[in-house]
C-alpha cells in the first residue's frame, strides 16, 4: 500500500482532523494556565512589595530616616531567599541605604535589570519589579523584588505543555496510521472483491475476519446481497431459458404445419383450415407473451396504489357463479363454502383473475367427476381463500414448484395452458402480501391464499 493512498484514506483524514482539534485545545489550555499562573504570581509579588512599602512609610512617619533604616536593617537580618531589595536616597540622589539606581521620585512601579543575584541562568541579568514611594523631606524609598522568576515559571509551564503535546501528537499520528492501515486493508479487500465481480467472477465474496465489528457486518451484509443477486440472476437466466424453450415448441409446430400446408393443401377449404390452425397456434404464443408481461407488471408492484377495500365474499361468489356452468360442463362439481361479508384491501381485477386461474387449473388438470371446492373463511386476523379438489393431486416434491413460471407437472404437459396461470396467482398473492400454499387435500390438491390483513 502506498503512503499517498494511505494519507488520502478516510480513516487517516479522520485521525488527522482529530489530532488537529486536539492540538488547538491543548494550545488554548496551555495559554490559559500560563496566563492565570503568571498573573497570579505577579500580583502576589506586588501585593507583598506594596504592603512592605506602606509599613516602611509608617516607620518613617513615626521616627524619620533613622527609624526607617533600623526597620530595614531588622528586615535585612531576617533576610531569607526571596527577600526584598530596599534602597533609600535623599533629594540629592545620595544613597542612604541600598544600591538600586536613582529614579525620579514619583509614586509608582518601575522595572530594573540588575546584576545577577545567583538564582538566574548563566549570563542573564536579574529582573526587578520596584515600587517607588516618595517620603517627606525629599527622601525616596524603593522596595523591589525579583520578577524574573515569574517569567521563568511561565516558560516552564509552556515547555512542559510543549513536551506533553509533542509526545501525544506523535502517538496519535502513529496510532492513526496504524489504525488507518488496518481499516484501509479491509476496505481494500472489499474493493478488490467488487472489482473481481465487475470483471465477471460473480462467485467472489468478501473475506471476513470473524469478529463481530461493523466492517465485518458490512462484509456479511454485502455478501448476502451478492448471494441474493446471484440467485435472482440465476432465476432470470432460468426464466429466459424457459421462455425460449416454451416458445420454440409451438413455433416449431407452427412452422411444420405451415410447411406441410404449403406442400399438400389444394382446396380452399383445406387452406382455410390450415390458416385457422396457424392462427390458433399464434394466439397461444401471444397469450404466453401477454401472461409474461402481466406477471412482470404485477411484480413491479405499481398496482398497489390502486388497492381499495373490497368485499372478497362477493367477489368469490360472483366468480364461482360465472364458472359454475363451465365446471359442470366439464363433468365436475363445484362446491362453495363462502363466509359472507369478508373484506380485504386489494385489486379486484387481479383477484378475480387469480381465482379464475385457480378454477381453470382445477378444470384442466382433474378428471371427470372431480369435486372442486372453493371456500372463504375469516380467521382471527386474516382471511383464507381456498380452492381444493379431490383429483389426483400433485406429488409433495413438486408442490412448491407449480407456482414457478412455465413449470408443468409431467402428466399435464399435454393439457392446454402455458404453465403461467399459477405464476400469475403467485405474483398476485405476493402483491397482496398473502401467503400462498399448496398442500395435499387427501386426495387432491389444495391451494390456499391467506390474506393477513382484513379490512
Amino acid at each position: 500500500m502506498r503512503l499517498a493512498q494511505l494519507l488520502k484514506s478516510a480513516s487517516f483524514r479522520l485521525t488527522a482532523a482529530y489530532v488537529g482539534l486536539f492540538s488547538v485545545s491543548v494550545g488554548i489550555l496551555a495559554g490559559l494556565i500560563y496566563f492565570l499562573a503568571t498573573s497570579g504570581m505577579q500580583s502576589e509579588v506586588r501585593t507583598r512589595i506594596a504592603a512592605e512599602s506602606t509599613a516602611l512609610r509608617e516607620e518613617y512617619a513615626g521616627g524619620g530616616a533613622p527609624r526607617l533604616l533600623q526597620a530595614i536593617a531588622e528586615r535585612q537580618r531576617g533576610r531569607l531567599i526571596g527577600g526584598l531589595d530596599y534602597t533609600l536616597y535623599n533629594a540629592n540622589g545620595r544613597h542612604l541605604f541600598g544600591n538600586l539606581p536613582v529614579v525620579s521620585c514619583k509614586s509608582g512601579w518601575v522595572t530594573f535589570t540588575g546584576p545577577p543575584d545567583g538564582d538566574e541562568p548563566e549570563g542573564e541579568l536579574e529582573e526587578l519589579g520596584v515600587l517607588v514611594t516618595p517620603l517627606a523631606d525629599g527622601n525616596c524609598l524603593l522596595v523591589g523584588d525579583d520578577i524574573g522568576k515569574v517569567r521563568k515559571f511561565g516558560s516552564l509551564i509552556l515547555r512542559s505543555f510543549g513536551w506533553v503535546f509533542l509526545l501525544t501528537a506523535t502517538m496519535a499520528v502513529a496510532g492513526g496510521i496504524f489504525l488507518s492501515t488496518r481499516v484501509f486493508r479491509r476496505i481494500e479487500a472489499i474493493n478488490r472483491t467488487a472489482e473481481a465481480i465487475i470483471e465477471g467472477d460473480i462467485s467472489r465474496r468478501i473475506p471476513r475476519r470473524g469478529v463481530p465489528d461493523d466492517l465485518d457486518q458490512l462484509a456479511a451484509t454485502l455478501n448476502r446481497m451478492l448471494d441474493r443477486m446471484t440467485s435472482l440472476m440465476e432465476s432470470l437466466r432460468h426464466v429466459s431459458n424457459d421462455v425460449a424453450h416454451d416458445l420454440r415448441t409451438p413455433l416449431g409446430r407452427l412452422r411444420r404445419s405451415l410447411e406441410e400446408a404449403g406442400r399438400t393443401v389444394s382446396s380452399p377449404e383445406e387452406s382455410r383450415a390450415a390458416i385457422d390452425s396457424a392462427v390458433t397456434e399464434v394466439d397461444g404464443i401471444l397469450d404466453t407473451f401477454g401472461a409474461i408481461l402481466r406477471i412482470a407488471q404485477i411484480e413491479s408492484g405499481s398496482r398497489r396504489s390502486n388497492f381499495c377495500r373490497l368485499v372478497l365474499s362477493e367477489l368469490v361468489t360472483d366468480v364461482c357463479e360465472t364458472f359454475a356452468p363451465s365446471v359442470e360442463e366439464a363433468g365436475m362439481v363445484l362446491q362453495t363454502r363462502i363466509q359472507p361479508d369478508l373484506a380485504i384491501r386489494g385489486d379486484r381485477e387481479l383477484l378475480v383473475q387469480s381465482l379464475a386461474n385457480l378454477l381453470e387449473n382445477a378444470i384442466a388438470h382433474t378428471p371427470v367427476g372431480t369435486v372442486v371446492t372453493v371456500s372463504l373463511k375469516g380467521l382471527s386476523d386474516s382471511v383464507e381463500l381456498c380452492v381444493a379438489d379431490n383429483g389426483p393431486g400433485v406429488p409433495e416434491a413438486q408442490r412448491e414448484q407449480i407456482f414457478k413460471r412455465f413449470y408443468r407437472v409431467e402428466r399435464s404437459r399435454t393439457a392446454t395452458g402455458n404453465g403461467l396461470g399459477l405464476s400469475i396467482v403467485a405474483a398476485v398473492a405476493e402483491l397482496h402480501a398473502a401467503k400462498l400454499s399448496a398442500s395435499d387435500n387427501g386426495p387432491g390438491l389444495k391451494i390456499a391464499m391467506l390474506f393477513s390483513e382484513a379490512a
Binding site: 401471444l286 401477454g290 360465472t322 356452468p325 360442463e329 379464475a356
Partner: protein
C-alpha cells in the same frame, strides 16, 4: 361512415384501412399525433381510432385536447402497452373503448360498429323489445310471447347487453368486459356456457353465433 385512423405503424395502418374499407367505411389515415388532431378537429368524422403512442403528440393528449374542444367524436384507443392501468387511463382521458394490440380484425370491426351505433342506444329506455322478446329494465324481467322467463342476474345482464345492440356482432371479449367486467382472457369457455344456458331459456333461435367473431341478436327475425 367516415373513420379517422391515427396510427404510426405503417403495416398495421394499411391492414386496418383495407379491412374497414372492405366493410364499407371510408377511412382517413394520419401517421402523426399532431396531424391527426388537426384532421379530427375538422369535425367531419364519425369515429376516431387512435394509437396510444404516436410521434409528436401521443394519443392520450390528442383525445384530451379533442374533448376540451367539446368534441363528442367516439374514440377507440389502440394500445401496444396492454397494461392493466393503461386501459383506465385511456378511458379516463375521454376514450370510449380500448383495444390492446395484437387483436383480431373481427374484434376491431365489432367494436367500431358498436361505437358507430352508440348514439342510437343512448338514453335510458325502460324496456327493450325485439320481436316477441321483451325486456323490462325496471322490473328486470323478460317475457317471450307473453310468457315470463326466469333469468339469473348475470343471464339478464348478458341478454340486456345483446338486446341493446341488435344486429351487431358482439365479440366474446366485449361480453367479458361489458357483462362481467373481466379484463383478462379466461381459458375457460365461460361466455359460451352462459350463452348456451341463455339460449336454453329464451329459445335457441334468437342469439346467433357469428363464426370466428362472436354473437348477434337479430332485431327483425326472418320468418321461420
Amino acid at each position: 361512415m367516415n373513420i379517422l385512423l391515427v396510427e404510426d405503424e405503417v403495416d398495421l395502418a394499411a391492414y386496418i384501412v383495407r379491412g374497414l374499407t372492405e366493410n364499407g367505411h371510408h377511412v382517413d389515415h394520419a401517421a402523426r399525433g399532431d396531424s391527426g388532431f388537426l384532421l379530427a378537429s375538422e369535425g367531419r368524422h364519425d369515429l376516431l381510432i387512435v394509437d396510444r403512442m404516436l410521434p409528436e403528440m401521443d394519443g392520450l393528449t390528442l383525445v384530451k385536447a379533442l374533448r376540451e374542444g367539446q368534441s363528442k367524436l367516439p374514440v377507440l384507443f389502440l394500445s401496444n402497452l396492454g397494461g392493466l392501468d393503461d386501459r383506465v387511463e385511456g378511458l379516463n382521458s375521454g376514450g370510449d373503448d380500448y383495444l390492446s394490440k395484437p387483436f383480431a380484425f373481427s374484434e376491431l370491426l365489432a367494436r367500431v360498429n358498436a361505437l358507430l351505433r352508440r348514439p342510437h342506444i343512448s338514453g335510458e329506455p325502460t324496456s327493450i323489445r325485439l320481436g316477441d322478446l321483451e325486456m323490462d329494465l325496471i322490473k328486470r324481467s323478460v317475457t317471450r310471447a307473453g310468457r315470463e322467463i326466469d333469468l339469473q342476474p348475470r343471464e339478464f345482464s348478458l341478454l340486456e347487453y345483446l338486446m341493446r345492440r341488435p344486429d351487431q356482432v358482439v365479440t366474446r371479449t366485449m361480453l367479458l368486459e361489458g357483462v362481467w367486467d373481466y379484463h383478462f382472457d379466461p381459458k375457460t369457455n365461460i361466455v359460451e356456457t352462459h350463452i348456451s344456458r341463455l339460449r336454453s331459456k329464451i329459445g335457441s333461435d334468437l342469439i346467433q353465433t357469428v363464426r370466428g367473431s362472436g354473437y348477434m341478436i337479430r332485431a327483425a327475425r326472418t320468418a321461420p
